[in-house]
Symmetry: C2
Subunit: 164 residues, 2 copies
DNA sequence: CAGAGTGTTCAAGAAATAATGAACAATTTG
DNA sequence: CAAATTGTTCATTATTTCTTGAACACTCTG
């Protein structure tokens, strides 16, 4: 029966949420997911599902799915509040944790399946030119896989980086 | 009046094109753009607009827009063929060139506008918590900007990389 | 154990995005 | 300079993707 959740969000909060909506869209993630992360990010207190629906005025379904996705990439942390059986979360704000989750759940599987498909294609009869192009693609996926840990490490550090 | 363009594409070529359709989708780029790059990538000879429409069976509009986008990120190279006034292109296959084009045309502008919007928000009156969150966001965009040249260099090299 | 509280699922509708193709502008050719 | 060739634009249509909300399952609580 909680009812402090329907607090209006401020203009600044809305701006910050929009920041995440933009970012989400850029990463091919639904707008509503960006909003959900945004509301957690702006909130000092842990929020539950219906706080999200009330503050953002989105459906329970969207909020539920948004939270699930954000949990899957470690962008939300569970918080247990005594005397309230709703699940509460706070935004994870360590960029590296979120990046790692995103890489692990979204990028790696995609790269992996691409490189597996390529492997199969290498066994087919083909022209010189296509052989060469397949080798090019193979090197691309390899580089893709190799760059990920470096991006992760880079985003996790607080110091300037150098490439040697 | 050229008419060698209506050659059927092979099963393997279709697979390679699908590879790019997948990749394009993952980057939030329309399927048709992936197809267009794919047909150039598989072709040994330079192709013109109507070769693309015939081989892929897509509309002239899609092909034209796909080519324009691909040129804008340096994924296609112009080739001038004497005795044919149509524009011809080949696929650029240096990963770094394409990556750089994509970063310059798509990613940097997005990051830039985000960080400008953030700068404005920093001047508004706000709570301790939101001040702190805005600082977090600022550090994220900074790291984003810094990581790009690193990714570019990494993808351009043929040697293993280390971070120091 | 009936009723209330909480979260999930997924079919249907709404919204956003992409593809088409006809009209057009620009250029070249005979 | 008329006709043909080439490529672009953009309103319309088609497709894909997202959001909604009602039905459901599960868990608590009195």
């Amino acid at each position: 029966m909680s009812n402090e959740g329907d607090t209006q969000i401020s203009e600044l909060e809305r701006e910050i949420i929009d920041f995440f909506v933009n970012a989400a869209t850029a990463f091919g993630i639904p707008k509503s997911v960006g909003e959900v992360y945004g509301i957690f990010f702006t909130s000092e207190e842990p929020l539950a599902l219906d706080d999200v629906t009330q503050k953002l005025q989105i459906s329970k379904g969207s909020a539920s799915q948004g939270i699930r996705f954000l949990k899957s990439i470690n962008a939300l942390n569970s918080v247990y509040l005594t005397g309230d059986r709703r699940d509460h979360y706070t935004a994870e704000t360590k960029l590296r944790d979120i990046t790692d989750g995103f890489i692990k759940e979204r990028i790696r599987p995609q790269l992996q399946s691409s490189s597996e498909r390529l492997k199969i294609l290498k066994n087919t009869k083909k022209s010189k030119h296509l052989t060469s192009q397949l080798n090019t693609l193979e090197s691309w996926t390899k580089k893709g896989k190799l760059v990920l840990p470096f991006v992760s490490k880079f985003l996790g550090s607080n110091e300037p980086q150098k490439i040697i």
